[in-house]
Symmetry: C2
């Protein structure tokens, strides 16, 4: 391995591979690839390179592997743990997959779709829909995140309850290994027991093992009817009871169950233009519930109605608005989907993305909020998310009027409090966002030595020169 | 590493760990662990060792790893590819998990169950049922196969259509690594993105990476009603049309769709006591269809009835028997479940366990049967299995009256014909049974060099001394 190629060598070599116009170096051009959208991470790259094919990706990695240049793969740059932005050394190359944007194939009969890594999630949803099918991955960033990044982070989102995580939607992968070898594992079978299931390693590996360049994905029958309701409840315990009621009556037809606190609604109404409160008066907590039917609109509505009726009778629901139209259903979901974004407008926000066994959610919320507000008086917990999966985004906004930086300086302290409670409840410190740079130090604290050791062995086996997203995750 | 400990050393060391009575060496005692039930593999072990805890497993592996003794892990000895029986060298130690048979925990609220590797699948089904829940893994050998083996082979079975493979049912694992370290990865979360998903490597690894000693499993709401029907169809193409009809109307309520040829029914009726033909006259092909409802018996029946009515009208179904009782439904399933076993009584059978994209099943069956009977006149193809998953057990029974050994000598030749067609249709040579010894040579033929290389890197990283089930899979 030659040590330290100069930036000039890096740029000229990359230019020879992808063409000069696709190697960016000026601060103006590279900035969009180097700033994380919540302003938590900012880096300075040696270059941003924009390959257009798996072969170009392979050539880039061969060069990097031979010369020891670090590669930071990037999809839509919507990641939440800093894995996709370069560090400040000026020595890392950001490899964006944005030009690998072909949907290579849609197989209606087999209900599969093959997309390149740079396809925006929403485009995949659309392509599936045009084929009369359904791709269930759905999350706030779907208009800009790219499927390669979704897979590299095993994205969760609002469809997990009924359809599973991204992992469950992937049938096969094409991956460029650290040494530039291309592995074509684009299978489309539901059953294939021929050796270790290698794709599983790359799913959720955050760019540390290779570069995902394409994927074959599972599509599903499109629901024929959906019913959405925005419901007010007294507290998380009641929300849990309500969730159980819906689970029992709707079974796998329950395709969404999200929990939101009043504060989140306030933030959205205040900062997101065109939104309005679905209910007339404020309530402490809300559930957004979605039921889908494979058979008819009527069946979904009926199931929603009868379940709601029983819930009102049992006094689990304080007030509720069933969506009267598709447009209204979309409005309700819009409130939920913008709840991450709007927090920025309220100053600093200390983030957690935790999961606990579903039944423990009320206890977790009670204990975490008490502990956090005791430690930081005036801090405003804004826990929201996927109650049905046991996954809560336990975010804490700064006290009104406090200094942003001063508040954010307490990040680790607040993390420690929240993650301590998560640990006691056998939960996870990263339910869906991953580790990246944000939780790298935490990882070694929460994992056993043997688990970290096994991870390192895999890393060394796949990327012996350590060029793939170093300093992220492991 | 000391070379070649004597059998005496092996036996005395193992005895010190598990007690003398749990180290078997006499041919009478070891035989049940060394014969594969279809008589395809028979081996001679240095010993069969029966540890009672993960710690004992760890001590055995430490010794094996230091001395280079090969370990063959075994569950219920129902595997179909020879991975679980020792070779004929007399130097391998069979490590049976049969004494690790505790169900450590059933969490009704969280819908999870933690079982040790040696628990028989049926026991897990029962424990789930007693908690008012449901464990969907279901296969012919469920009365004797053990959950550790199910996981090590990523077993499929008849529940895959609605619930996925064993992989999809596992939340966490406890594994003893080759060097005797115990990894406690018994998580119970639906979402956990903290590093590489290590458990995925062990699922389907056929004992080549470590010994699975316990697992946390997902349970599901118990279906409240089931409707089963035994339907006659003209050919696989019509069966596929019928499958699509049921998929469309029942969606995820379609929990079973199996294809069987007349020959299979004949074999069952001839060799399995107490079975009878569900229909009055014979037909060329049959579908066993199951619909489950999370809400009621009535809903399942109604859905079955209306779909069947439409199918009869469209002349897709020639004749049909909806099960009138739970007992009759069980009878229908019994026919399907014994279809593997009874083939033994008809002489030699050359096996394939293949998958192709679902839409390609009719073409596959047509081409395979033409090619096989041309090569071996009089051979009797008996293709049956999970049509909805694209997974067919393409078995071929010997011609009536032919010599068993002579027929079986053509195993590789017939394999080559069938797998060639599978390859042309982008299928898999092992959909659910795995590789083991049976398909080890095939594996390197159907996989790319880079994929085999990646698998070897993982093997070396986890089992550098190569003591874990050597000669199987890789």
């Amino acid at each position: 391995m030659n040590d330290n190629p100069t930036q000039q060598t890096i740029v000229s070599t990359l230019s020879a591979i992808v063409g000069e116009t696709h190697v960016l170096t000026s601060p103006e051009e590279t900035r969009p690839y180097c700033v994380e959208w919540r302003d938590l991470y900012f880096g300075v790259p040696a270059a941003v390179v924009r390959p257009a094919s798996s072969e170009e990706v392979a050539a880039i990695l061969r060069f990097a592997n031979e010369t020891g240049v670090s590669i930071v793969p990037q999809g839509g740059n919507t990641g939440l743990v800093g894995a996709q932005v370069p560090d400040e050394s000026g020595r890392e190359v950001v490899l964006t997959l944005e030009r690998l944007k072909a949907i290579r194939d849609v197989d209606r009969e087999g209900a599969t779709l093959v997309a390149e890594a740079g396809v925006v999630l929403e485009e995949i949803q659309k392509a599936a829909s045009e084929a009369g099918l359904f791709f269930p991955l759905s999350l706030g960033a779907q208009g800009s995140c790219r499927i390669g990044g979704n897979i590299a982070t095993n994205a969760g989102g609002t469809g997990v309850l009924a359809y599973g995580n991204t992992r469950d939607l992937v049938l096969g992968l094409e991956v460029v290994m650290a040494d530039g070898t291309i592995w074509n594992g684009l299978r489309r079978l539901r059953k294939d027991n021929t050796g270790y299931d290698l794709k599983q390693l790359f799913i959720g590996s955050e760019g540390t093992l290779g570069v995902i360049t394409a994927a074959s994905l599972r599509l599903f029958p499109a629901p024929k009817g959906r019913a959405v309701a925005f419901l007010a409840v007294e507290d998380p315990q009641t929300a849990l009871t309500l969730f159980r009621r819906f689970s029992q009556t709707a079974g796998s037809a329950l395709t969404g169950f999200e929990l939101m606190p009043r504060l989140g609604i306030d933030f959205v109404l205040r900062h997101q233009e065109g939104t309005r409160d679905p209910l007339e008066t404020p309530y402490p907590w809300y559930c957004l519930v979605e039921i889908s039917s494979g058979r008819s609109e009527a069946e979904a509505s009926e199931l929603m109605e009868t379940t709601l009726e029983a819930a009102f009778e049992a006094e689990e629901v304080l007030d509720g608005a069933p969506a009267a139209s598709l447009a209204q259903a979309a409005e309700f979901w819009h409130i939920r989907h913008t709840m991450s974004e709007v927090q920025k407008k309220e100053g600093g926000s200390i983030k957690h993305d935790v999961s606990v066994p579903v039944a423990k959610i009320p206890e977790f919320l009670r204990r975490a909020s008490a502990a956090v507000t005791e430690a930081v008086p005036g801090a405003r917990p804004l826990p929201f998310g996927h109650l049905g999966d046991g996954n809560i985004h336990y975010n804490v906004s700064q006290p009104v009027g406090a200094d942003r930086d001063e508040f954010l300086a307490r990040w680790d302290e607040v993390n420690k409090i929240v993650h301590g409670i998560v640990g006691e409840l056998s939960g996870s410190i990263s339910a869906e966002h991953g580790i990246g740079r944000l939780k790298r130090k935490l990882l070694v604290e929460v994992k056993s030595e043997i688990e970290i050791d096994l991870m390192r062995r895999i890393k060394n086996a796949f990327d012996p020169n350590g060029i793939m997203n170093p300093g992220r995750m492991l």
